[in-house]
């Protein structure tokens, strides 16, 4: 590929007309379509570039695999969906050829065809189509029972679908911006630009958005409109430049307002670099804008409808406005001998433009008896044949239209006219998608046969064609008034427009077998809609779902109104009584990557790391995810697997000592004269009896009485508590406490502060723990006598202000050193250096789990699960019997919470000491009972205990404590394991070690 070049004589396409359009040949690029190379001009869309080379056939339809061409020139395109690739990883299926701009080197392929676009085996479906009416699959494929999944469904799935999903990870970047504004204007055509001028004049912050590369909207093709005496498109560019220079205006082109959500919140997708030949590495591909607008002006225009008649889908048939766009903007003629079939005056202007550009017009076939007089007169003046009261009732041509069959309405007298393109218009449908998304209500305007905005649900206003305002002077006034300011804009259009029809045209009515397409992409024909009605689908939602009309990737922009009209005719009901399906976001499809933006990899959910994380990593730690924390799991030495590392750590802690990072535990500072009273209400335990300098293990329940969290609470002073929570529970515990403090107990003088990240916590556990930390502790006697188990004190460690806890989650003599987080690494390093020299180890969460299980200490969330009371967990002693109130006091008394036979936490010992039970394994009394078996409970914790020399386990078992000594069974997939029920303490049952 040679890349861009300047000015040289290139084959810009046989249908590129000299002097037509606004593109300049200064810069061209090369692309391939289905392997064949073409030249495009800067500013070309894939559609305009292909048409310039006379290529109309670009795809195959979804169901019947019919050859399809380019129908539109905009985002409503249902047919021309292509696979566009920059390289193998940057490949995008289902790209609308009418939106995608050509970039140099683009590799573009057609979809849904095999082996080739011109010869597609799947097109046999077209011949078999009598067997595939709408909803055929509901009526068959039911026998034999397994065949649906094994035979029929795979065939259907392969046949369905359009593009091929990317196979590689997308290397492109996507960006996200939040923005606020006073006025957001969707659509920068004549109405939007005028509204922007008016709004900007008030000094309001304005964001003006348009999906096309350049502003102008319909002025791209509407050459008979002049504004302030200028060509409309030129006026639009000048106006945009003027607006862009204002400090309070931001113009976003190539940007689609795809969703209008609650409270003035809008989603915008900006195509930043898909049109560039070589985007920089740091340039995002697309950008998501999340805008909160005080006010929204919808200037989204209208979308032209196609005519519904037999074989209206052949390549070469397209919307009249599209043909006009290709000619007037891109300088491309869509054919050399073009037919026009219309129910609306606007198509005449397409014929005029083509005729003036030298294209032959076979005839304007107008199904109306009386078109607008002005356009009729102009057609005659230009020598164009106009057949009023006539219809196109069929077409021929396999891969491109060859002729149209024209008949006088109500007459069998037909004639075939040769054409190489047929442009059609059934009139214009206001784009009310965003209005409807904002939850506004539409009303049916009988006179103009269209739905228009009626009742607004948000601070929003519609202007211009999307509001049914057709006359330019009214449109301008409406836009100025919507903008809230002043602007001087004088717009004139040479021709007024009238006409339009919805539903099936002549020859496609009831009692025919012809395929008159309503929804091109999903191959829904007029007769499919009639069949749906016949089968009892009388709600438009049922008709939509039964036929899939309007459910393709264009979301019914062309098909909805036609489908509705055909259904209404069948039902013999007025259109508004049949209803309208919901317009759902997004307006046009939005790339996942755009919606994800930066939220990927590390930024998907930023990992929380402790201050000592890097030091632990340097020691070889493996980490595990606990909530969004990364915690050191175990510290394997060279050659060790997880089991041997954990066994070593477990032995070492009990023989010597171990150092453990406990920083992730939640910490809440509870301060104030009523702090003890507050904790009395929030925990099941009593706190007023706890003396300053002492700690207590606390249980928290919610009102329902089930264990919610646990942790050690230290009382530093009469009015100050240092509360610890579980790692995962910290945010919800604080929220829970705040809720009660602010709304139930606001009379209590208490202040709550999260201090989780303020303290680095270094646990030193084991017989040598005191000896290890002794030299670092200043100003505190930590002897057993002065500082016994469950003590807390403020002191200094290595000169750093610290809180020292004498506590243990291992059953060993233990301390937890809390120092300000920034000092964590230094203190950790010093303590670990000394500990190492004394034969201690670092240990991680796995060893912590084993050691605590050896002692029968529970882990909330593992040994309890939200259905467990303190008593179930063997912690009934922690529920104060004296208090008259605490959160959970009433819930605990409910009938089911006090009944016999509740599941209780017990120990299990396997008959074979080497068997380690599976956590989550179920327990039964009778292993021979046939399924469904009666399950007594499940194993909550199970480990190999190096210190016990055997496996240990804890389990929640129905009536567990009364079963101690009994043998129960754990049936696994391959064998049944017999277990003895025990208490939950497996090591140092007397508990002497903790007092060191």
């Amino acid at each position: 590929m040679s890349g861009s070049s300047h000015g040289s004589a290139k084959n810009l396409g046989a249908f590129r007309l000299k002097g037509a359009g606004r593109l300049t040949p200064a810069r061209t690029s090369r692309f391939t379509f289905d392997g064949k190379s073409y030249t495009a001009m800067e500013g070309d869309t894939v559609a305009s570039a292909l048409l310039a080379h006379g290529v109309h056939l670009v795809g195959r339809s979804f169901k019947y695999h019919r050859p399809r061409g380019i129908l539109s020139a905009g985002p409503e395109e249902p047919n021309a969906l292509l696979d566009v690739a920059r390289d193998s990883a940057r490949r995008q299926p289902n790209v609308r050829a009418t939106v995608q701009e050509v970039f140099d080197g683009a590799k573009i392929s057609s979809q849904n065809r095999w082996p080739s676009l011109a010869f597609d085996v799947g097109s046999v479906n077209n011949l078999l189509s009598p067997f595939f009416p709408a909803g055929f699959y509901y009526k068959t494929f039911k026998w034999p029972r397994e065949a649906w999944e094994k035979v029929y469904e795979p065939i259907i799935r392969r046949a369905a679908g359009l593009g091929v999903a990317p196979k590689e990870e997308d290397p492109d970047r996507y960006a996200n911006r939040f923005a606020h504004c006073d006025v957001l204007i969707a659509g920068a055509g004549l109405a939007g630009l005028t509204a922007a001028l008016s709004a900007a004049a008030t000094g309001a912050e304005v964001i003006l958005v348009d999906e096309q590369p350049q502003v102008g909207g319909a002025l791209h093709f509407e050459t008979s409109t002049t504004v302030d005496g200028k060509n409309g498109f030129d006026w639009a560019q000048e106006t945009a430049a003027k607006l862009a220079a204002m400090p309070n205006v931001r113009i976003l082109t190539r940007t689609t307002v795809f969703g209008y959500y609650n409270h003035g919140f809008l989603g915008l997708a900006e195509r930043v670099s898909d049109h560039l030949d070589r985007p920089g590495r740091e340039t995002p591909r697309e950008r998501l804008w999340q805008v909160r607008a005080k006010r929204v002006i919808l200037a989204t225009g209208a979308i032209e409808r196609h005519m519904v008649f037999a074989n209206n889908d052949r390549p070469g048939i397209m919307l009249a406005s599209a043909a006009r766009t290709f000619l007037n903007h891109y300088g491309v003629a869509v054919g050399r001998n073009v037919g026009v079939y219309t129910a609306h005056d606007s198509a005449y202007e397409a014929a005029f433009d083509l005729k003036r550009a030298g294209v032959s017009i076979a005839a304007i076939v107008d199904c109306r008896e009386q078109p607008g007089e002005a356009v009729l007169a102009e057609a005659r003046a230009l020598g164009i044949t106009v057949l009023t009261g006539h219809s196109v009732i069929d077409t021929t041509g396999r891969l491109r239209i060859k002729s149209m069959t024209v008949a006088r309405n109500g007459n069998m007298d037909i004639r075939k006219m040769a054409v190489d393109a047929l442009i059609v218009s059934a009139g214009w449908t206001p784009s009310v998608h965003l209005f409807s998304q904002s939850r506004g209500k539409l009303r049916w305007d009988e006179a103009s046969q269209r739905f228009l905005p009626d009742i607004y649900a948000q601070d929003c206003v519609s202007v211009g064609a999307c509001n049914g305002t057709d006359e330019t002077d009214l449109l301008v006034d409406e836009a100025i008034s919507a903008g809230g300011g002043a602007a001087s804009v004088n717009a004139e259009r040479r021709f007024g427009w009238s006409g339009g029809m919805i539903g099936a045209a002549e020859g496609a009515g009831p009692d025919t077998r012809v395929k008159a397409f309503v929804d091109f992409q999903h191959d829904v024909t007029a007769k499919d809609i009639r069949l749906a009605v016949r089968e009892g689908m009388h709600s438009i939602e049922h008709i939509k779902r039964f036929t899939t009309n309007g459910m393709a990737s264009d979301q019914g922009k062309l098909s909805n109104m036609h489908g509705l009209a055909i259904a209404a005719e069948m039902l013999d009901r007025p259109i508004p009584q049949v209803g309208l399906t919901t317009f759902r976001a997004p307006y046009t499809p939005v790339t996942y990557g755009t919606l994800v933006a930066h939220s990927r990899g590390e930024l998907f959910d930023p990992a929380r790391k402790t201050p000592m994380h890097d030091l632990e990593a340097a020691e070889g730690a493996e980490f595990e995810d606990v909530g969004n924390w990364k915690r050191a799991w175990y510290f394997p030495k060279r050659g060790e697997d997880m089991a041997s590392a954990v066994n070593r750590e477990c032995r070492t802690v009990r023989d010597v000592a171990g150092v453990f990072d406990a920083s992730t535990l939640g910490k809440i500072e509870v301060v104030g004269p009523d702090a003890a009273q507050f904790l009395n209400l929030l925990y099941t335990n009593a706190w007023d009896t706890l003396k300053p300098g002492r700690c207590r293990y606390g249980i928290m329940t919610r009102e329902d009485g089930f264990v919610y969290d646990d942790g050690v609470v230290g009382r530093l002073a009469e009015d100050r508590f240092h509360v610890t929570t579980t790692t995962g529970g910290a945010p919800r515990v604080l929220h829970h406490m705040e809720d009660y403090l602010q709304t139930e107990f606001p009379h209590l003088k208490v202040w709550l502060t999260s201090t989780t990240e303020q303290w680095a916590v270094i646990a030193v556990q084991g017989p040598k723990a005191r000896e290890i930390i002794q030299p670092f502790v200043e100003g505190l006697d930590i002897s057993n006598e002065a500082f016994p188990h469950m003590s807390v004190a403020e002191c200094a460690v290595m000169g750093v202000p610290a809180r020292l806890f004498r506590m243990s989650f291992t059953g060993e003599l233990g301390f937890e050193v809390n120092v300000p987080a920034d000092y964590g690494p230094a203190v950790w390093t010093a303590i670990w250096e000394r500990a190492k020299s004394m034969g201690a180890c670092l240990y991680g969460t796995e060893t912590m789990h084993v050691l605590r299980a050896e002692k029968g200490y529970i882990i909330v969330g593992q040994d309890t699960d939200g259905t467990v009371t303190p008593d179930d967990a063997g912690l009934g002693w922690a529920v104060s019997k004296k208090k008259t109130d605490f959160v959970g006091i009433r819930g605990l008394k409910r009938p089911d919470l006090v009944r016999d036979g509740r599941k209780q936490l017990v120990g299990l010992l396997t008959n074979r000491p080497s068997d380690v039970l599976e956590e989550g394994a179920q327990i039964v009394a009778d292993p021979n009972q046939p399924k469904p078996m009666t399950m007594l409970g499940h194993v909550t914790s199970a480990y190999w205990s190096e210190n016990c020399g055997r496996s240990i386990a804890m389990a929640l078992v129905a009536g567990g404590r009364s079963r101690i000594g009994q043998t129960l069974y754990v049936p696994m997939k391959d064998r049944t394991i017999a277990v003895e029920v025990t208490d939950t303490v497996f090591f140092d049952k007397e508990g002497g070690r903790i007092h060191g």
Binding site: N262, R292, S436, G440, L580, T582, D739, D885
Partner: protein, 113 residues
């Protein structure tokens, strides 16, 4: 994404800063230990779940941290007012609890009208 007025900060802020906290004006019984099972079930589980005007609590959790009350229409999701915690339930002018304030488009989709 909702836009919520915090009565403490006196700012309109994005829903991302707030946490919904259930129906408002449900007081914890004073002598909770003495209520019946039925009364407890009513207090703890039963909620009005209104279609239309609802009174609810929000917390400006990523802002000032305060709990406050709001009156909102659960059909349109429009906030009618917000007010500080502890203030009594206030009627919304012109809106009764049973009135559907806005019949939205989504509500009537596909209906025969």
């Amino acid at each position: 994404m909702l836009l919520i007025h915090c009565p403490y900060c006196e700012e309109d802020r994005s829903e991302l800063e707030f946490r919904w906290a259930g129906e408002a004006h449900i007081a914890r019984p004073d002598a909770i230990a003495d209520i019946t099972d039925e009364e407890f079930a009513e207090y703890f589980f039963l909620r009005n779940n209104e279609k239309g005007l609802t009174y609810e609590r929000w917390r400006h959790i990523h802002g000032c941290g305060r709990f406050f009350n709001a009156a909102r229409d659960t059909v349109s999701d429009r906030f009618l007012m917000t007010y500080k915690a502890g203030l009594p339930k206030r009627p919304v002018p012109g809106v009764s609890a049973t009135e559907k304030t806005v019949e939205t488009y989504e509500q009537t989709e596909g209906d025969a009208r």
